[in-house]
């Protein structure tokens, strides 16, 4: 019996991690006297930690009475969970970093200081006209900007110019439509590449290709209306068109299923297993370098659309949020910090260091003057793709409270299609599952 009790405790220990997480964040005293200290939690790992620290250091040099304590808080999910715990514990960071799909949740979270509200309160207006239209329109909800765009990216097509040439394709003229991609893939396959196209299993591409057709993803004006969305509409003709094409290429042996995650498709592209991938525009540096290792040249193109589609890409990435319930000194310092990070000099450094593009047109113009795009022509593709994006509610990007789970459901459906389920059936089932989740979310968010 004693052993049974022991085992019971072991099991108890194993499951207690669930709420133990709530108490793991360290408390930091906020000095309310003149030199003000604020915390800034972000979700960028690796060399980006140092880059963000150096941006914060430059900010502190300009504002000697403000100390910014920068912390890498793990993935977007980890960061968000830690911020929520910290808010409950009464010690939230003044500024934190969140992914774009967390936007509607955060707007309704009750723990946020809307950015435009802070800008008015402290009379530090933000020149939104300087920002790229898709960038600033994503974070604008019913006329108000809630957070500061920070790391922004869109998908791009990356192709291996050398292998294109070998297959008799024009290396300076990447395919732009579904039919052109397919035709190029057929030629590449004929030239000896077994499965010439791939991208990682990610719902993001599906969402973007719906935006490109200027179709909504959710109801209530793509989640941007006065009511919270109540159902998804990705099982529309537009959604079916995307997957019919995508799965069709898979079924015909033109598309390699590399599964989820961000490493497999990059590796396949770098090894020449495939000649064309879709990936984030922030991969330009990485992919150029990995092809150069083999002496291959890389090109970039806009992500494909069906013939005649008139939409554009929506922005992906993350933004910086201010939490509420801080002293005016801290709020002002936080506002100054996010404004600084989105200004030209840090944005240019950020772009060069990471591949995310700067959020401001002015920063892009400065990069152009420096001759940056002459050296790095592939970066220009992402900008061009953004600049031709029309401003509509659909291309602003969809807002949805249950986005993370929706993405898993869509990805699961795509895998069901790989295994033979008809596209329309898979999409309808996915939509029904998401709709049930939305109803539940709308109820708990009102509590």
């Amino acid at each position: 019996m004693k052993k049974l009790v022991l085992v019971f405790f072991v099991l108890l220990l194993s499951i207690s991690f669930i709420s133990a997480n709530a108490s793991e964040d360290a408390a930091v005293d906020v000095d309310k006297a003149a030199p003000v200290t604020i915390e800034f939690w972000h979700a960028m790992s690796g060399t980006r930690i140092d880059l963000i620290q150096s941006i914060a250091d430059d900010f502190m040099a300009e504002n000697p009475n403000i100390t910014v304590e920068v912390q890498y808080a793990g993935s977007y999910n980890d960061t968000l969970n830690k911020v929520i715990s910290a808010v409950k514990g009464g010690n939230p960071p003044s500024v934190f970093h969140s992914y774009e799909i967390g936007t509607l949740g955060l707007i309704n979270s009750g723990m946020i200081m809307p950015l435009d509200e802070a800008a008015v309160k402290y009379d530090l207006p933000i020149a939104w006209d300087d920002f790229f239209v898709p960038v600033q329109s994503y974070y604008k909800y019913q006329g108000q900007h809630y957070s500061m765009p920070f790391n922004s990216s869109t998908p791009l097509i990356f192709y291996n110019k050398t292998l294109f040439e070998k297959a008799g394709l024009d290396p300076e003229n990447p395919p732009k439509t579904y039919e052109e991609i397919r035709a190029a893939a057929v030629k590449l396959k004929a030239s000896g590449i077994d499965t010439p196209v791939t991208w990682n299993l990610h719902s993001w591409y599906f969402e973007q290709m719906i935006c490109l057709q200027d179709a909504p993803f959710v109801n209530t004006s793509n989640g941007r209306g006065s009511e919270l969305p109540t159902e998804v509409v990705f099982n529309s003709a537009a959604g079916n068109k995307v997957l019919d094409w995508w799965i069709g290429m898979y079924n015909d042996g033109l598309f390699m299923d590399v599964g989820p995650g961000w490493s497999n498709h990059r590796a396949a592209f770098g090894a020449g297993e495939v000649a064309m991938v879709m990936s984030s525009s922030s991969d330009v540096n990485l992919l150029t370098a990995s092809l150069a290792e083999k002496g291959w040249e890389m090109g970039t193109g806009f992500i494909p659309r069906p013939d005649g589609a008139t939409g554009g890409v929506a922005i992906g990435g993350g933004s910086l949020w201010m939490t509420n319930n801080h002293s005016p000194e801290e709020e002002l310092a936080a506002l100054k910090l996010v404004q600084y990070i989105s200004s030209d000099v840090p944005q240019m450094a950020w772009h060069k260091g990471t591949g995310y593009f700067p959020v401001r047109k002015t920063a892009m113009e400065k990069l152009e003057k420096e001759g940056w795009f002459v050296e790095n022509p592939n970066y220009l593709t992402a900008f061009d793709q953004l600049l031709v994006s029309p401003e509509t509610l659909n291309t602003a990007g969809s807002l949805l409270g249950v986005f993370p789970e929706t993405r898993s459901i869509i990805q699961s459906s795509i895998q069901e299609c790989y295994a033979g389920k008809p596209v329309s059936e898979a999409l309808d089932e996915a939509a029904a599952k998401v709709n049930a989740l939305i109803a539940e979310w709308n109820e708990v968010i009102g509590l």
Binding site: L12, I18, N81, M256, V258
Partner: protein, 289 residues
């Protein structure tokens, strides 16, 4: 045995206090909270709660995805536990022989246990990934992780491998404690190596096998989400989506707090139940010295 006693009758409680305060803060309270929350609907941001009775539990058991995950977990746990115990016992038996460099082999075999699940996942991804996986290259089959059945096989393989070191250490200890005179007596009586193993060695290590059975069941049910997150994210199409991974996603990614709490309650009950059955059925066959 002489029972030591304390002169001050409060002293034992004071000595126990540090342990219990840690247990209460980090174990009892969080576990209690998880159980309590499973009967509530919870706002993921403010933490505002509304009593919902059995709503979450009913949701769980009427969700076909959850039920299939339930079955998958069982398949996964049985494979990992049975496969892991057999392989590690075999390896431990080999290591227990008098061979040159046994210490080196022992250290090498225990190594995988020291890896974090994320690193172990990365290693198996290196072997099996569809684009550049080495196993895919040599077998001519790329779809190890993108086909539902083989993906489960890879996950089981990874989880088993990851825990081998732990099992081997315990089995080695148990094997060292098998009394030599019993084995020699059997040998003199003419028992062959298999007979010696099954009638003597196996009987002497049965308490350890039982202990490992319980620990490995717990491991299979609770500690494998890191591997799955790196390798398959529960896919393809939910075919490696075992309960603990779904629970991890529902709490940490999907922020469905009440629902995740109910899942943890179910998982807890399930493993308590399995352990109880193991005690009831298996322990009778275990011989303690």
């Amino acid at each position: 045995m002489k029972q030591s006693s304390f002169s001050n009758k409060y002293l034992p409680y004071i000595l126990l206090l540090p342990t219990y305060s840690i247990l209460v803060v980090f174990l009892f309270y969080p576990a209690f909270e998880s159980f309590r929350l499973s009967f509530f609907k919870v706002n993921p941001y403010s933490g505002a709660e509304k009593f919902a009775g059995f709503y979450n539990l009913i949701k769980i058991f009427t969700n076909p995805d959850y039920l299939s995950s339930f079955v998958l977990s069982l398949v996964f746990a049985v494979s990992v536990v049975v496969g892991g115990l057999i392989v590690s016992l075999l390896l431990a038996l080999l290591l227990n022989q008098k061979i040159k460099g046994a210490k080196v082999y022992r250290s090498l075999l225990i190594w995988p246990y020291a890896l974090s699940p994320a690193i172990a996942g990365a290693l198996f991804n290196f072997l099996f990934n569809p684009a550049t996986g080495i196993v895919g290259y040599f077998t001519g089959m790329r779809t190890w992780m993108t086909n539902g059945n083989t993906a489960m096989f890879v996950i089981v393989l990874a989880a088993t491998w990851k825990n081998l070191g732990y099992n081997i250490v315990f089995y080695l200890t148990a094997l060292r404690n098998v009394p030599r005179n019993a084995l020699e007596a059997a040998e003199i009586d003419g028992a062959g190596p298999f007979r010696r193993f099954f009638s003597i060695t196996f009987a002497f290590i049965s308490p350890m096998t039982f202990f490992l059975l319980v620990m490995n069941t717990t491991y299979a049910y609770f500690s494998s989400f890191g591997l799955i997150d790196i390798l398959t994210e529960g896919g393809p199409a939910g075919s490696t989506n075992i309960l603990i991974y779904q629970l991890y996603r529902d709490f940490f990614v999907n922020s469905r707090i009440g629902y995740a709490a109910a899942e943890s309650l179910v998982l807890f009950m399930l493993v308590v139940g399995i352990t109880f059955i193991q005690f009831r059925t298996t322990e009778k066959k275990v011989h303690y010295q």
